[in-house]
């Protein structure tokens, strides 16, 4: 649609026309401000906690587990130097052999949501899969934070069917 509009504007004599192909969803996926009547409806990115501990894939589990516990968390995102999510460590993984490295025990390719995903969608997914949190990433797969189920006010079992359109794949 934006391509046809751009071409039409050129046909109408505009000589510097650009097309932002990834569009509004990409803008929102980068957690940038938005205007409009629904702009203030809280989305997953608004409630995501940004203090989720992170570690590198080669970090030792002994170091990670003690740091995560000291920070009051039960999860840790494994990220690379670009802050792209590689995996997730939670309960069982955080209890792994202390001499192992994160890459060997992490849950690879954990489910992620974009920051514009509705709270109902993300909470519904957590309820269905017995999770207490999901990662929120931008469209490049970079970590934004973790949405915790306890931070979403919809009562369990009172959520609409899970949508998948705002699920991440980056």
């Amino acid at each position: 649609m934006s391509a046809r509009a751009a071409w039409r504007l050129e046909l109408l004599g505009f000589d510097r026309v650009y097309r932002y192909q990834p569009g509004k969803m990409d803008w929102m996926a980068h957690d940038l401000p938005i205007d409009g009547t629904e702009a203030n409806v809280p989305r997953s990115g608004d409630l995501a906690r940004h203090d989720l501990p992170t570690c590198g894939p080669d970090d030792r589990m002994g170091d990670i587990a003690s740091r995560v516990k000291a920070e009051g968390w039960d999860a840790c995102a494994v990220v690379n130097a670009e802050h792209v999510v590689l995996g997730l460590l939670r309960g069982a993984e955080l209890s792994a052999d202390l001499e192992m490295i994160a890459a060997r025990v992490m849950e690879p390719g954990p489910k992620t949501y974009r920051p514009y995903a509705s709270l109902q969608t993300a909470a519904g997914y957590m309820d269905q899969h017995g999770l207490n949190g999901v990662l929120i990433t931008d469209s490049d797969g970079r970590l934004i934070g973790m949405l915790r189920r306890v931070d979403v006010q919809w009562p369990q079992g009172d959520l609409p069917p899970v949508e998948t359109s705002a699920a991440g794949s980056a």
Partner: protein, 67 residues
């Protein structure tokens, strides 16, 4: 030929005075749009409606996603 750009270019061009145009139906624009964007739905895009745009500044079109 219109140039396809990514988010960093969008931000740079907006800062330089480019006009951002959402071409989705107006109800979707009213729900959510990028700050500063103008609503110009594709089905209404003609010489008259485009007359609201300045020709001396770049124009960036966008819609929902990769459509």
């Amino acid at each position: 030929m219109p140039t396809t750009i990514q988010i960093a270019d969008v931000q740079r061009l907006i800062a330089a005075g480019a006009q951002l145009v959402e071409v989705l139906p107006s109800n979707l624009y009213h729900d959510k749009h990028i700050p500063g964007a103008i609503s110009l739905p594709l089905e209404q895009l003609d010489a008259k409606s485009a007359g609201h745009l300045r020709r001396d500044r770049p124009v960036i079109t966008y819609c929902h996603d990769q459509q």
